[in-house]
């Protein structure tokens, strides 16, 4: 049973694409996946309602194990309902790292959420972290049960498509130079460091006025795929990350990535041609962007996704091995309280 952080679409499906991608690839690998969605993590009564809902679902489907797809409240509720069932907890990024620039209230909440996730992880048979920097923030006693395993990319969906046709579909100017940026919302928006991205693009625009900075925001998965194929570059300026899915999805579409060294991006880009890793400096980023936009060549990112074992099916195999190890060690006891 998979417990994602939150969110269902209108049809009751899990709204987080990366959770869906992982679950679908696990199903193709022979596992049966049932979602237990947490739709309220903020009010005490909503949390109690969700805990009851998860508990009832657990009783009904009698899963072999429970996998919380996020730390914080999601992991805690999963730990609560798991009882004697083996529990796997995934930490994704801000659930361990917090938010770099935020109000005091938000920072305190983020700290409490982190501690809650770690408390839940104490009950976990296995812990998955998406990148090495997340692994290093775990308390030492938890590291023994932890493994670094990024999310995989759905390479059937995110694949190279005709650049011009994608621009036409999106109604973009075929002659414009397009830089993509993936912003975030609320208190988390500062983590993506949009000011640095805007500053870098502004410098490029002085020399090349046709450059547009387009935000990947409020778009469908189909539109994301079109954008990654229609754009000329993805720009990443985040202050902190785990293993950003957007970078891997861009790579799968052979879109060049210009990024600061955050999360596992340096590892992903180490052997990727076109694109660059730059310091947190608008001039350096602008220089790298200009180089990419000058040639407008696609990258070898897709090849790297395969070489680095980051397709959804590669990751499903590795996650399946983790599940199996957990089940061999802790066979599921009778479900119940």
């Amino acid at each position: 049973m998979v417990v994602p952080g939150s969110g269902e679409d209108g049809e009751g499906r899990v709204a987080f694409p990366f959770v869906r991608t992982q679950a679908e690839s696990m199903e193709r690998a022979g596992w049966t996946v049932v979602y237990g969605v947490v739709d309220d993590r903020t009010s005490p009564s909503g949390v109690l309602r969700n805990a009851k809902k998860l508990q009832a679902l657990t009783r009904r489907v009698q899963p072999s194990l429970i996998h919380a797809q996020y730390g914080s409240m999601t992991a805690a509720l999963a730990a609560f309902v798991a009882r004697s069932l083996p529990l796997v907890v995934s930490f994704c990024g801000d659930d361990l790292l917090g938010t770099p620039i935020a109000t005091v209230k938000w920072k305190l909440r983020a700290r409490a959420a982190r501690l809650l996730g770690l408390l839940a992880a104490e009950r976990a048979a296995a812990i998955v972290v998406k990148s090495q920097n997340l692994f290093e923030t775990l308390p030492r006693r938890l590291r023994r049960r932890a493994i670094v395993l990024p999310n995989g990319v759905d390479t059937e969906w995110f694949r190279p498509l005709d650049h011009r046709a994608c621009r036409l579909a999106l109604g973009w100017d075929p002659e414009a130079k397009v830089v993509l940026f993936h912003p975030s919302r609320g208190e988390d928006r500062w983590r993506k460091n949009p000011a640095l991205a805007q500053a870098a693009v502004e410098i490029v625009r002085r020399r090349e006025p046709r450059v547009s900075l387009i935000m990947i925001s409020d778009v469908t998965r189909e539109e994301v795929r079109l954008m990654l194929n229609a754009a000329d570059c993805l720009l990443v300026t985040s202050l902190q990350e785990g293993s950003p899915n957007m970078v891997k999805e861009a790579m799968a579409c052979n879109l060049p990535v210009v990024s600061v060294p955050c999360g596992d991006v340096p590892l992903r880009l180490a052997h990727t041609r076109q694109g660059a890793l730059c310091p947190y400096d608008s001039e350096a980023l602008a220089h790298a962007l200009s180089e990419v936009l000058r040639t407008c060549e696609r990258s070898n990112g897709r090849e790297q996704i395969y070489l680095q074992g980051l397709t959804a099916s590669d990751i499903a195999v590795r996650l399946g091995e983790i599940y199996q190890q957990v089940l061999d060690r802790e066979p599921a006891a009778a479900v119940g309280v």
């Binding site: 005490p44 609560f80 409490a112």
Partner: protein, 82 residues
């Protein structure tokens, strides 16, 4: 066997520590007063299970059963008696 008062005292210490607020009485409504938000509530329930060695039967409880130290103590006594 720990008495209800003993459990309340132990819980008062635990709750005060977890929410960083000195809780004066067992009857104070932790949710209504905003002392305990959703994160603190789940954190406390996990801590209670660890410290008191009981399983909190969420499916049998309503939010009122979790709102104060006195109510939580009653839940622990009841679960220990099972």
């Amino acid at each position: 066997m720990q008495t209800l008062n003993g459990i309340e005292r132990q819980l008062l210490t635990l709750v005060s520590k977890r929410v960083n607020v000195a809780i004066e009485t067992a009857e104070i409504d932790l949710i209504e007063t905003g002392i305990m938000d959703s994160l603190a509530l789940v954190d406390l329930l996990l801590q209670i299970e660890n410290e008191f060695g009981v399983r909190i039967p969420l499916e049998e409880l309503e939010i009122d059963d979790l709102k104060s130290v006195a109510e939580l103590a009653r839940v622990i006594v009841r679960e220990r008696g099972k």
